[in-house]
């Protein structure tokens, strides 16, 4: 059963990755998008903060605004009957979700590596261990965001996905402290941002990029990311199994 689900996940991942790579314009724009903030906002931010603070913020922003919108793809698959066709194969429902999610995670990791590489050219200096640990966190974060995005896409009216997600994502980006650390926020905004899991993920990333590994912030960030991933994948799989998905 597990072997079969793993095979199905791999088949779906490989197929989705091939489709992503065939869309050359999308690949180019996907690569440029995260760099725009780094190049046009980074030098401004560097006057009041550090690149080790900014780059993790841009990674979380990228995850929310790019991977968080992954559900768009499944909206079209549902409209064209592609999803229903796949749901009448013996493929496990978990594989139908994870195959797509893995493709989104790979895309996010590539974008993150590009962001970090260009960040280095601008002045980012993070230890290799911190970068690797941060990348591991990004993998789990990407899986959570993509799973949640698919769950939303298959739950609400297809025409509402774009407006709903863009309305949800922007406050989450701001509350995570992507642009400025929430420690600078007034008390009410600081308290509000603590309700968002992405604040904890981002603060852990910033600690890791600063070379601080065994901190409460990192522990909390890792725990929140892990719980978010378990909840998101569980919800996503249930939605893929649901009869009206």
């Amino acid at each position: 059963m597990i072997g079969s689900a793993a095979r199905d996940t791999w088949l779906l991942f490989r197929h989705d990755l091939a489709v992503t790579l065939q869309q050359k314009v999308g690949v180019v724009f996907g690569a440029i998008q995260p760099l725009v903030f780094l190049v046009l906002f980074g030098p401004l931010f560097a006057r009041i903060g550090t690149w080790e603070t900014l780059v993790p913020g841009l990674i979380v922003q990228l995850g929310l605004m790019s991977t968080g919108m992954a559900g768009f793809g499944v909206v079209f698959e549902r409209r064209f009957g592609v999803l229903e066709r796949l749901r009448v194969t013996p493929a496990s429902r978990l594989a139908l979700l994870l195959g797509r999610v893995l493709n989104n995670v790979v895309t996010l990791v590539v974008q993150t590596v590009l962001l970090v590489a260009v960040g280095y050219a601008f002045g980012l200096r993070a230890p290799a261990a911190g970068l690797l640990a941060g990348l591991a966190l990004v993998v789990v974060l990407g899986a959570s965001l993509a799973s949640l995005s698919y769950a939303v896409a298959l739950t609400i009216d297809e025409n509402l996905f774009a407006p709903v997600m863009s309305t949800i994502v922007m406050p989450l980006v701001l509350l995570s402290g992507s642009f400025l650390p929430m420690s600078m926020a007034p008390a009410w905004l600081d308290a509000l941002s603590r309700l968002s899991p992405f604040r904890y993920v981002l603060e852990a990333l910033r600690d890791l990029f600063a070379g601080h590994y065994a901190t409460v912030t990192v522990g909390l960030g890792v725990a929140v990311t892990a719980v978010l991933a378990v909840v998101s994948v569980t919800v996503g799989t249930r939605v893929f199994s649901r009869e009206n998905a």
């Binding site: 088949l11 197929h15 489709v19 064209f80 229903e84 066709r85 009448v88 194969t89 009869e243």
Partner: protein, 246 residues
């Protein structure tokens, strides 16, 4: 090939879409499932293809228990939905290979099977065109191809010819007949076209208000010189012609 007893589906809010449906389909038959809009056709089809869980009743589909072994049912059925299944933005080649491999075929087997099915449906070479570049008839044959890759003994077709021109419809009928003649495939289809039901099907089941209200061969139903449309009108109070989608 299909045996249901008291199959029912009640949706949230208490809407009874299908009530106590008993269906028996023998192997090798082409069975048409007719009914007015909202009669319960699609709900029944979705239950039989494991896309909807029945509220009550039992069913054996292609030799597997629908309730306890839905994955086993999926291995042995092909399903072509109303929405189709061809990705309009991408060529079908990769999707076809994936579909075959999700049914357990190796990559080599999948490639061979895709080539075989495309040749059979006169689609060879078109698998590299984006779905959006295909005609309606070609796209519908691709939909059919997806349902045939694993050589299922039972094929479900939901409104297979809706929206097609007469020539494409006749062409698709020929393919469906050939599947039965060459492979003994059982076909269970819904249609809004009574001429299609008359020409293609060995048996017809008519559903209305969530219940099977008539069944028999086209000849058995057309007693007394009546047409199928007369029969349908007598039974349901509505003409199916008025309900043909544009």
């Amino acid at each position: 090939m299909i045996e249901t007893k008291g199959l029912s589906k009640t949706f949230k809010g208490g809407v009874e879409a299908v009530t106590g449906v008993d269906i028996t389909v023998e192997a090798g038959q082409i069975v048409g499932f007719l009914g007015p809009n909202g009669a319960g056709k699609t709900t029944t089809m979705r239950m039989l293809t494991t896309l909807l869980a029945p509220t009550s009743g039992t069913a054996t589909v292609a030799g597997r228990d629908l309730l306890t072994d839905p994955a086993g049912v999926r291995r042995r059925i092909g399903y072509v939905s109303q929405a189709g299944g061809v990705n309009l933005a991408a060529p079908a080649a990769g999707d076809l290979e994936l579909q075959a491999m999700l049914h357990g075929l190796s990559r080599e087997e999948a490639r061979g099977r895709v080539a075989e099915v495309l040749a059979r449906l006169e689609l060879a070479g078109m698998e590299h065109l984006p779905g959006g570049a295909l005609s309606g008839g070609q796209r519908r044959r691709f939909d059919l191809a997806f349902g045939l890759l694993h050589r299922p003994p039972l094929l479900f077709l939901d409104e297979p010819t809706t929206g097609l021109d007469p020539q494409s419809r006749t062409h698709l009928w020929d393919h469906i007949r050939a599947l039965r003649a060459d492979h003994g495939m059982t076909v269970f289809l819904t249609t809004h076209y009574l001429d299609e039901a008359d020409a293609l099907c060995d048996r017809l089941l008519i559903i209305d208000g969530g219940r099977i209200v008539a069944e028999g061969s086209p000849a058995e139903l057309k007693t007394g010189g009546r047409t199928l449309d007369d029969v349908f009108l007598d039974i349901t109070g509505r003409s199916l012609r008025e309900e043909v989608p544009a």
